[in-house]
Symmetry: C2
Subunit: 299 residues, 2 copies
């Protein structure tokens, strides 16, 4: 396909590179233009603005930080919406790999449809920079089935687990919210268990050997547990990003009708814990640093 | 080996049967004698009292409900301690597969040593009735290495993952406590995520397809998640047993010096949630019924 990719961060540049490898024609744009250089070496065209990148393309993909950044790159002065083929048939695909709220996604999708006749697929990912480079991401998609199917060849270039969660704009973001809620709460399990074992003076390597393959087993326990024991908090996935993501969950929960809005004590607890730990200066650490406020200064 | 097995519940009878299959000689005892019949058919000797079962044996194994039951079967009127070979060399092994507190284990081990010259190995298990029947349990052991090594042929008849956690009496129980803490907190993640998805109206089978193999993956999510969605709460592992086990964690946490005793907000949260759900009548359901207090009556 003939596509634009907007946002050459760690994730976007790896995803654009995989589209190139799979034979797609890719125009790239990034606010800081120098980040486009490695992609140019791999055969991408470098565009000076999102509008220029989007001109004549079948699909405009993006991976940026938050909803304001999505709106800027789409609807700003040189935004993609001003360059893309207006009211094309079939409509130009706008594929958003950013993690933003389902509500923002819905607003942006409506505006794209009204202002340019383009169709949006929200397609947040999990798998991190390692998964992005390996083309092994999980991609969770929301939007019309027709649009999802047209986008599939691109998803197959970037991901391994590709799921059309639902037809509503934001259904991909809803799946991602659920993913992040589980990631956050499993991380509470991992960090409290590790610290509990340390407090009792047991050899946690032995305990992990005994428990990690059974009913207590999780990605979190096997991957973050040993890192907590080693006091290795290098990111990876930063705690301040998890704060943003669990914040989306909190927003949705607060808008549920009572008593459902009070039915998520775990999410409430972990949200408070993450806030406290970010305020204490741990936002740039990996997510298991949510537990760092409980560790000795000497650790 | 020539052993006694005390307590023919679901777990004990399956473990004793696997000892028989591996060629050990087994005398069995149960308070309700009729439960010994299936083991007798498999070649076990049925003893009328724990003391009679223990007479002349190299090892006395047990799996009962709680610390009072362990103490009754060991030190009661016809308790095993009155039948086992006193101050043998090497000492008679007393292997406790029950889940009790590390503190109780330590007290019982001292008393066994003082009153009968026997050596205790605490060896709580995980893997449930399915794992017990398949000889695939995880067995977490505490006590002197010499005693653990002598017991190993028995453990290999009953389990697949056999770990000597540490030399202290109770180190097996400490590993089990950590296991149960993770099981309880991962279950919070699973149940809140499932209910969150339902509240947002997304197809949770699709979401599970997208997230269960990545950073959100856990035994809990894959096994209990679908059961919550189906409103299937049949035990399995009962919530009231998890209440007991997380209660052991809470006891240890409360005895930690400040500020460590306030550093387990997740465990505190899940303990309150489990209590609330057991009080509401969900104690006999499987552990994911901790979330049942938040479900509509119509569910």
């Amino acid at each position: 396909m003939n596509i634009a990719y907007l946002g050459m961060g760690i994730m976007g540049s790896a995803m654009a590179a995989n589209c190139l490898k799979h034979g797609h024609r890719v125009a790239v744009y990034n606010r800081t233009a120098s980040k486009c250089a490695p992609l140019a070496e791999q055969g991408a065209e470098v565009a000076p603005t999102p509008a220029a990148a989007a001109a004549g393309k079948e699909a405009v993909l993006m991976c940026v930080d938050d909803a304001p950044a999505v709106e800027q790159v789409l609807f700003g002065d040189d935004g993609a919406v001003h360059g893309l083929t207006q009211h094309a048939d079939p409509p130009v695909l706008v594929i958003d790999h950013s993690t933003i709220s389902a509500k923002s996604t819905d607003r942006i999708a409506r505006r794209l449809s009204e202002e340019a006749g383009a169709v949006m697929v929200d397609a947040p990912v999990s798998g991190g920079d390692v998964g992005a480079r390996a083309g092994a991401l999980s991609i969770m998609c929301g939007g019309p089935a027709e649009a999802f199917e047209r986008a599939r060849p691109l998803f197959e270039a970037m991901g391994k687990t590709i799921v059309h969660v639902g037809e509503r704009h934001g259904d991909g973001q809803r799946a991602k919210m659920i993913n992040q809620m589980v990631v956050a709460l499993n991380c509470v399990a991992t960090t409290e268990a590790m610290r509990f074992g340390e407090a009792m003076g047991v050899d946690m390597r032995k305990v992990m050997e005994a428990i990690s393959q059974g009913a207590a087993g999780s990605w979190s326990l096997s991957n973050l547990g040993p890192r907590l024991l080693a006091r290795d908090f290098a990111p990876g996935f930063r705690l301040r990003h998890l704060l943003k993501d669990v914040g989306f969950c909190e927003e949705v929960i607060q808008e549920l009708p009572p008593p459902q809005n009070e039915a998520f004590p775990g999410t409430e607890m972990v949200m408070n814990l993450i806030k406290r730990s970010v305020v204490a200066g741990n936002g740039e650490h990996n997510i298991h640093a949510m537990s760092k406020v409980f560790l000795d200064d000497s650790d």
